[in-house]
Symmetry: C2
Subunit: 508 residues, 2 copies
Amino acid sequence: MKLVVKNIDIAARGVLLNRLDARGMGVMNGDRVQVINPKNGLSATAFVEITSTIAQQGTLGIYRITNERLQMEDGDDIEIREAGRPESLDYIKKKMDGGKLTKEETLTIIKDVVHDDISAAELTAYITASYINPLDMDEVEHLTRAMVETGEQIKFASRPIVDKHSIGGVPGNKITFLVVPIITASGLKIPKTSSRAITGAGGTADLMEVLAFVEFTAGEVQQMTDKVGGCIVWGGATNIAPADDRIIIQEYPFKIDARGQMLASVMAKKFAVGANLVVIDIPVGQNTKVANMQEGRKLAREFIELGERLGMKVECALTYGDTPVGHSIGPKLEVIEALRVLEGSQEPNSFIQKSISIAGIALEMAGKAPRGGGMAMAQDLLSSGKALEKMKRIIEIQGGDPNVKSSDILPGEHQFVVRAPASGYVIEMNNRSLITLARTAGAPQDRGAGILLHAKKGKLVKAGEPLFTLYADRNWRLQKAIEEGRRLMPVLVEGMLLDRVPSSFSEI
Amino acid sequence: MKLVVKNIDIAARGVLLNRLDARGMGVMNGDRVQVINPKNGLSATAFVEITSTIAQQGTLGIYRITNERLQMEDGDDIEIREAGRPESLDYIKKKMDGGKLTKEETLTIIKDVVHDDISAAELTAYITASYINPLDMDEVEHLTRAMVETGEQIKFASRPIVDKHSIGGVPGNKITFLVVPIITASGLKIPKTSSRAITGAGGTADLMEVLAFVEFTAGEVQQMTDKVGGCIVWGGATNIAPADDRIIIQEYPFKIDARGQMLASVMAKKFAVGANLVVIDIPVGQNTKVANMQEGRKLAREFIELGERLGMKVECALTYGDTPVGHSIGPKLEVIEALRVLEGSQEPNSFIQKSISIAGIALEMAGKAPRGGGMAMAQDLLSSGKALEKMKRIIEIQGGDPNVKSSDILPGEHQFVVRAPASGYVIEMNNRSLITLARTAGAPQDRGAGILLHAKKGKLVKAGEPLFTLYADRNWRLQKAIEEGRRLMPVLVEGMLLDRVPSSFSEI
């Protein structure tokens, strides 16, 4: 059937069909159709929604995300057809039934994911099936390659190309802001793509956006890296391994991160930017994604094996993940802390030690430092100001102010200090509660929101001493965070009352 | 935040927020929010879509399905808040991890399904998890009760109340059109709710719509049953066990029918209409849902056990499902065949024998006929014209013409006869291919579309004799079906060539 296009300004996928046209075609609400731009042959699969008024008879409404594929304008002719059932659905069913997917089957599914040929619900079925019936290493390799092939790839003229990745779950993990300039200062190349926070209080891309632009194409990432040695950009803008974002969005409601998908997600992004030396930071701790050393070592072996299959050298660092890295949580607060260290501050120790350890491994892998000498070299590149100099060049090439100082960045103006209710040692810091609290205060969207920790685990505090300060850009969010903080108690002091039972209970 | 309502004429769920309001609230595309009608306190969960123009700053667009809950008009004040994470998601995650859901957890999920508090993708995760980690009988009972409790229920003043259900998969299974009038003619009550076809060529509700209206409330079903003894309505309009439809829509892409959900779905609808005597027809055959007798008996035992837990008496009939019931497939063709039998035709035997067997079991269960005497009584009620008389009363009370005759109903005007390409016995009829073919011709939306079989399995035909006739309401659909029929070959004759290998192959 031929219709005339009407663009619908809604950030969604799908097409909008008039009730009468739908009846004429025998199409029902929710049916899958194929729409074709007859001018250039571009086509898209879309799910139908029905209206009596917003699209008149003879016109087809197209939502914004679907039109990104079709590139049509109001009044253009468009063709609409019944869409066949995607083969992907049979392969997803096979995975539900415990089958093992071939390379071709996996690629078909991932292509359909990237092209929006299957719905969010159908993708969720694939994710759920792969979570319950875990992918074996062959399937993980297929998935990694499929993620790479369905997106853009960078091919550098020379090697080595370094990359690093931290498995999430630990708040304040801003080490990229030291690792990338240190690696760059050593003369190595590191085209770092990062994520925005989904469940966290600030992804590396959210942090970098405080200093510079982060949305670049894959080509621009390559040029910037060739010019200054490195960059820190948002992976979501590059069209590198675009399937990954779609998968993560569907995993989010269930807080799952299926092992196979996680391995493929990390390694696909590294492979696609052309990295051949990769350091993986695996934080281990009760409130992180990896609960103990045994699990951490198993995951490390899987990363290394997958790297071998892909022709990449991978080393993993199991790191302490029970408390935040450094003292700051939230975009601006973390950037201030990172810049201070680049500017010469020797605090906080936990942040510096972790960063130079990870950078040191990469320097050793690349042969820049002898085995056992990487950390000292990283420390030297940091202390000498060479890393700061490189960071300025990276900020500059990404369109930021290279002369920015830590003191130029101001965190949220609305602040509240939480004090120790009793004297004693800080016995617990709950990562998840700290993240929830920072998000309640507005992080990561509100860049100034977050938490500054004054005391970390093991420190002796006196009653009335500050434990942490809450920051927010908006007062109502601060008030909400104060209230939430009372309930969550993310930092516990030994002598603190955890609850008070009212007297009526003791009388029973 | 307070906004002003703008109704959006799109048959979808969700709300449409202006980009600037979204930024102000810190809400992102796809976020879950709660919207509240301050006038009456009605509230709904909705997922946000973002626009720059269709909803102006300060207004909130509401899609049609979401507004069915809120009942708001343009210009009304509306409040929008962040929605908490539904607990259901934790329970679905528990099922993914192989856990067993409690009664309360199941009820929470099903409530959220019915109230649209979880998304289609989240529901799909639940269905996928329950398919891979099957529900045990406790969980099936919980699910059944939850489906009943979240919808309307009918409570008749007296018992017994009879009901029947056929597990799908067999084309032409129009037995309800004989069973309901026979049961009614015996003096028993049978408030029959039926489905529309999702994957089939015509659900009982689609067929009944040829004769009368099928959309009634639960209260109307009760009144009609009290007055004339029975009815044949579309269950989807009654708000009886409304969760079931939502689940079936999500199962459709994968052609799954998870055992636990299927048991719960069937029995919830029977329980909710107040039935205490239930006959389940389980067609067994290669191309149906139940492949062999062993599986059929297992399923029968599960239905009986679930019935016992719910206080209902259940008997199951394993029936022959390898070929269609009767000769007709598609709404009008099947109604014509059913009316002819009610009018006195003694053909087709397969249809009559199956119908009186099922009706006979119900008559025996209710004590109307002695054990072993039910079938004869059913045959008598049919032959005597009493069943036809009751069918007329049912058609009349549902707003149709009680004097309708089989000859008044005209099937699709576009027809094509498929003839035997060779002489021999009909050796195979493929149910799935027949259904696909009837759907290609336009069934069930085009009521006149379908297939009339002239020869069934085992019959000896001569080359050139008609095998079946294709019917369609629209010529382009008939042409498509003719083409599809050549590919599918749903009826095979022994002597027929299945394929012809071109000579180039034999020369290799």
